[in-house]
């Protein structure tokens, strides 16, 4: 009957949105990893100016030429150079000893900062579920192409995985993401500052977050300046946040803070809400560009392979290997 749910609140049953977000669901986000193999042809686009470890087995072109068998030019022999790289023929024709210089591929450091606050644990599917799948996909691209990968939850401010490189670390990465816990809250600027102040050579830093409750995104991005860092902000939202299916007088509860407020959601109010959310997204995007960070807005229900990667490719964030 119509009155069956009058005392629903007293019975303690959770609202539908809470029912939809379950921890088991988040842990199941990485059960199906078949899509990772189909991402092999993609790679993360990183700046050539990022500092990399040339001694590592990376695949990214290095700006500096090093003694190599792959000849590009000569330079004079310096003490300490490996004699295997001396061009004896050219040295025989001249009075100096020349060492052959060539391009040696380098690795890039990829840092994925994943928002694990409670606000991410909302929606159907939840944003946390989508964020972990997205982090898995990006991490797979990094590890499979010789990049060094570190994954850090924003609430921690330090890597829970890595820095590591090599395909052999993919299972460990998956396990780390699967066991990544939710935190009640996350202070985005503080976590960014704490992560940036760690000893590091910089690299490609990817923020995956809904940016809800982030009051000062600009100051957070300031901790990752060029050319040491290349920042990429993946703004992950849920479709219900852009166009909520709510009507009438409703009491809303903040999933992260637990605060409550009553609203009379008329169509006009909802239209006003949509306008403000769009304006907020634009302000976030503007702040990213102002701080030389790439920005991409993603939705939680987008499939990785069919929608997210093509979208990031169009935005120049991933490229064909």
């Amino acid at each position: 009957m119509w009155f069956k749910d009058i005392f629903r609140r007293l019975s303690g049953s959770a609202p539908p949105e809470r029912d939809a977000v379950k921890s088991e669901e988040a842990s199941d986000a990485l059960d199906d990893l078949s899509f990772l193999r189909r991402l092999d042809r993609l790679t993360l686009r990183a700046s050539r100016y990022l500092r990399g470890d040339a001694l590592a087995a990376g695949q990214r072109p290095s700006l500096r030429r090093l003694p190599s068998n792959d000849f590009r030019e000569h330079r004079l022999y310096l003490p300490g150079d490996d004699l295997r790289h001396v061009d004896w023929n050219a040295s025989a024709r001249a009075e100096h000893v020349f060492v052959k210089l060539g391009e040696r591929p380098k690795e890039a450091a990829v840092h994925i900062l994943l928002d694990n606050s409670a606000s991410m644990n909302w929606g159907q599917p939840s944003k946390f579920w989508a964020a972990k799948r997205l982090a898995a996909g990006l991490g797979y691209l990094a590890l499979s192409h010789g990049d060094r990968l570190a994954i850090a939850p924003l609430a921690e401010g330090r890597p829970l995985f890595g820095p590591s490189h090599g395909k052999g670390r993919i299972p460990a990465m998956i396990r780390c993401l699967r066991e990544l816990p939710l935190a009640p809250r996350a202070d985005f600027p503080a976590a960014a500052r704490r992560y940036a102040h760690r000893p590091s050579r910089g690299g490609l830093v990817i923020f995956i977050s809904d940016l809800l409750g982030v009051s000062d995104l600009a100051s957070a991005l300031d901790y990752f300046p060029l050319p040491k860092w290349q920042a990429l902000v993946l703004h992950l939202l849920h479709p219900a946040e852009l166009a909520p299916a709510l009507r009438g007088e409703i009491e809303l509860e903040d999933a992260e803070t637990g605060a409550q407020a009553n609203y009379d959601l008329t169509p006009a109010v909802l239209e006003q809400y949509t306008f403000h959310v769009r304006a907020w997204c634009e302000s976030v995007e503007r702040a990213c560009y102002d701080h030389t960070a790439a920005y991409a807005r993603l939705l939680a229900d987008w499939p990785i392979e069919q929608m997210v990667m093509p979208y990031l490719r169009r935005r120049g964030m991933v490229a064909t290997a």
Binding site: L212, E249, I250, E253, Y263, V269
Partner: protein, 613 residues
């Protein structure tokens, strides 16, 4: 209308509160309230709740209103056909005047036909009751018990019989026959030839409809006929002939004695006048008739008859004080009891000692003085001074009697002044009832045990002075008349008459005025009720000693009330339903609660469809 039903309006705020509660409980969790922080301040935060108007709430409020209306149960005067069954109460005037033949075949027949037509118009759910008025009110039948067809048969068998009208009893029976839940109507079929008592203009719980039959008619009647024995043994007969007409009348009158005409004369009756006639009949005449020739509108009152001989009463006195004799009244040295019994007209007394009581012959009346047999005989028994130790009437000491006793026919014309009675014996038989008490002690009792009627004089008549006073033979004569009612000289139609006992006439033949004979044996009824036809009724029978005797009585219909057929007018009284009863012209009040209950069901159905959609 039930005003308490208005309490149902309290359900309206309850429904609204339930909806407010339901709305208040609608809580949704969002990822962050910061997305909503930009909304205008007036739509944020707690504020007074508004009723969440929607179709479900509107339908529920409407259902509650209809339910309240059903509980209040308003009534409206609607011109709806009455759903109640008809209850027809027929009061039929069956007095002698209804046998007048001005409306062929008779007024009663016409009334019966009209009543039958009204019965035929009733439906299967309707009912009817039939009440007759004359001579006493009687409910003939009720279709609620027997059905309409048997009631119609009983209606068809009614005959005009009786002088006078018992309107009081008839209206009381009609009021008792009213069924409150039905549409009652009282219909009176009468010729209007009566005077309705003004004291009966009381309200009846149903409307009354008068249905008059017949027209005013001139009529001549024998309104009185009486006989008186002369000292020489002859009978002097008096007759009164009345003319109920505004015109003079000429009628031929014939006097018959034992069926033989002994006088005939032409009477000239003045308008609305009367003539008195007298004849002296020779001794030995057993019956006399007076007849008016050339029948008028009411032939029943043109003849009058009298029975002049009554059967003798054979009495047996059993006492230790008497001398056994077959006919004691002719002897000498009679005791006071013997003298009192012999002074009773038409009584033959036989006396016995108690020792010779065994093997007695049957008698009409037994008188036991100072002694009682082991068992009561059949018939009437007068007990005088019963012994204390007897098996049929045990004596007992009783408390002084302090109650008041009404006047009793047994004590009619008995002067108790200066009469001293002997000590009385107390009675403990529960079938006896006190008749007369003296000095706190009941001295006269009466009762019926089995088929024996008993009068007890519980005192010794020789102890006081009662036996020497005239009150004693009068008391004995009253007791004999009560124990053995005599055959009347004449009665009115419809009255009952006591038949002579089987001890007097073991076999009896009754011949009515039409010459129809009816045999009665020893198991005859005590009373003869079939006396509707006016004229001379003859009773012929054989006495126990083998001698044939003929007695008779007349049934005379003529009377000033019934023979006056000129009084034909609508009764000058009105009988209205009581004030508490709904007026006849008012439309019936229809209950509207079924309509509202139906509306509630419809609205609830719609609400369920809307709520579950």
């Amino acid at each position: 209308m039930n005003l308490l039903g208005l309490l149902g309006l309290l359900s309206l705020p309850v429904i609204i509160i339930l909806h407010l509660l339901r709305e208040r409980q609608e809580r949704h969790t969002v990822s962050s309230l910061t997305l909503w922080a930009w909304l205008k301040p007036e739509v944020r935060g707690p504020r007074p709740r508004r009723a969440p108007w929607n179709r479900v709430l509107a339908l529920q409020l409407l259902a509650a209103l209809f339910l309240t209306a059903a509980l209040v149960n308003p009534q409206l005067p609607l011109p709806l056909p009455p759903l109640q069954a008809d209850r027809l109460i027929l009061i039929l005037d069956n007095s002698t005047s209804m046998s007048a033949t001005d409306a062929l075949p008779s007024r009663l027949a016409v009334a019966q036909a009209r009543a039958a037509a009204r019965l035929a118009g009733l439906g299967s759910s309707d009912s009817a009751a039939l009440i007759t008025v004359s001579p006493t009110a009687r409910r003939v039948g009720d279709s609620a018990q027997s059905g309409l067809v048997p009631l119609g048969a009983e209606l068809a068998q009614l005959q005009a019989a009786g002088v006078g009208h018992d309107w009081e009893g008839a209206l009381a029976l009609a009021a008792a026959s009213v069924v409150p839940s039905q549409n009652n109507r009282i219909v009176v079929f009468t010729d209007g030839a009566f005077e309705f008592p003004n004291s009966l203009q009381a309200a009846l719980p149903a409307p009354v409809e008068w249905n008059l039959v017949g027209e005013p008619q001139s009529n001549q009647a024998v309104v009185a006929l009486a006989a008186r024995p002369t000292p020489s043994g002859a009978q002097q007969v008096f007759a009164r002939i009345a003319n109920f007409s505004a015109l003079p009348a000429q009628r031929l009158l014939t006097l018959l004695a034992d069926g033989a005409a002994i006088d005939s004369s032409q009477l000239s009756l003045a308008p609305s006048g009367a003539t008195a006639l007298a004849w002296t009949l020779p001794p030995g005449a057993r019956a006399v008739e007076v007849r008016l020739a050339s029948a008028d509108a009411l032939p029943a009152d043109d003849v009058a008859a009298l029975g002049l001989s009554n059967p003798p009463v054979d009495a047996l006195l059993v006492s230790r004080e008497v001398v056994a004799a077959a006919d004691r009244c002719g002897g000498k040295d009679r005791t006071p009891v013997e003298r009192a019994l012999c002074a009773t007209p038409n009584l033959r007394l036989k006396t016995l000692h108690p020792e010779t009581y065994v093997g007695y012959e049957p008698h009409d009346l037994y008188v036991f003085q100072g002694w009682l047999p082991a068992a009561w005989p059949t018939g009437g028994v007068l007990v005088i001074d019963p012994p204390n130790d007897n098996p049929v009437l045990p004596a007992a000491e009783s408390a002084p009697f302090t109650g008041a006793l009404p006047a009793d026919p047994l004590l009619a014309d008995v002067n108790w002044t200066n009469i001293v009675l002997g000590s009385a014996t107390g009675m403990e038989a529960d079938w006896l009832s006190p008749v007369y008490a003296r000095d706190g002690q009941v001295v006269i009792w009466r009762g019926v045990t089995g088929v024996t009627r008993v009068v007890v004089l519980a005192f010794d008549v020789n102890a006081g002075n009662l036996a020497k006073r005239s009150a004693f033979p009068i008391l004995v004569a009253n007791a004999v008349r009560e124990l053995l009612p005599p055959l009347p000289e004449s009665i009115q139609p419809g009255e009952s008459v006591a038949l002579p006992s089987a001890q007097v006439f073991p076999a009896l033949t009754l011949t009515n005025p039409r010459g129809e004979a009816r045999e009665f044996g020893a198991d005859r009824p005590m009373w003869l009720d079939d006396t509707t036809r006016a004229g001379l009724y003859l009773l012929e029978g054989l006495t126990p000693d083998g001698s044939a005797r003929t007695v008779g009585f007349g049934v005379n219909a003529g009377s000033a009330d019934e023979s006056d057929l000129t009084r034909q007018a609508t009764p000058a009284f009105s009988i209205a339903p009581p004030a508490s009863a709904p007026p006849l012209a008012a439309l019936p009040l229809a209950d509207l609660w079924p309509v509202f209950v139906l509306a509630v069901l419809v609205v609830v159905f719609l609400e369920m469809r809307v709520a579950w959609k």
